[in-house]
Symmetry: C5
Subunit: 80 residues, 5 copies
Amino acid sequence: MKTGTVKGSVWSTKKVDGLMGLTLLSVETDTGKIVAVDLVGAGKDDRVLLTFGSAARVENPLLPVDAAIVGILDTLEAET
Amino acid sequence: MKTGTVKGSVWSTKKVDGLMGLTLLSVETDTGKIVAVDLVGAGKDDRVLLTFGSAARVENPLLPVDAAIVGILDTLEAET
Amino acid sequence: MKTGTVKGSVWSTKKVDGLMGLTLLSVETDTGKIVAVDLVGAGKDDRVLLTFGSAARVENPLLPVDAAIVGILDTLEAET
Amino acid sequence: MKTGTVKGSVWSTKKVDGLMGLTLLSVETDTGKIVAVDLVGAGKDDRVLLTFGSAARVENPLLPVDAAIVGILDTLEAET
Amino acid sequence: MKTGTVKGSVWSTKKVDGLMGLTLLSVETDTGKIVAVDLVGAGKDDRVLLTFGSAARVENPLLPVDAAIVGILDTLEAET
């Protein structure tokens, strides 16, 4: 997993059916910006935990997503 | 997922059967050019949403593709 | 797999159910910091062995994790 | 997927059984050289289309390969 | 796949059960050092062929490994 910071929303009207109803957020990571489905209700500037690949689909294997926000960080004890 | 910009088509006459009938587009991303199957009818210069790995095959697990265009971006609210 | 050094814990109160009860550690690798689930009881400054992707879920395919600490290194015979 | 240029063959006598009978080619890509199984009869200097990960195994899930040449490019309409 | 050069062994006494009995080697590649399970009996300084991700587990899906040495290179016809 990686940590990142939410920068804003990503809007797409013309998309595959599998993305309907999902919240897609733009997240800055140490290796660039990615787009992730939000599974925890994250907001702008939140520092979040991201999981990638099929791990992003363990709850719903049919979603066409390869990244998911799975947690909001509540401490920086480690400078993650 | 990542965002990118469609640069043009990729043509291959000699290919595996699994690619027959698919539209393959060259897409510029922040980490270089990739080739993705188009699932939404994207055109040149469109800014698109890309999904990678097995996520690109959720609708058809037998396609030999590792990247898919799953949406056309309609806003840059976030500078994604 | 890769080797890395544990830097500290990652705390998240608001997270998906699948992460409940897991120990998440921040690990420094040669390509940056990542977050991994700890499967062996690693501590700060331990040099560890990391596995990525679905390999991190072979013991529990339903965990939403893409990285796991699967060993603590006990020698540097090779400067790994 | 990515595009690349075939540079030559890769020979290995001592290998796992799953690689027996496969043609392995060295391919230059924009992110370095990789080795891919050839599924289309590509030759040296051919510009080819590569697919990675489990997508390289859709026709034979038991091959221990993570990259496959799935097409020979016949045009550079887009400077892919 | 990628090519690399074996640099030495990686030892871990405290590890997950799934790694018991496996030979883990440190391998230098063009993108850094990785650790791979040895499936062919490679030795120090051997130039080897590596496969990554689930391809490393086609013979045993329950191993928690994401990289495997699947061949020893016997020629450099192509400067792979």
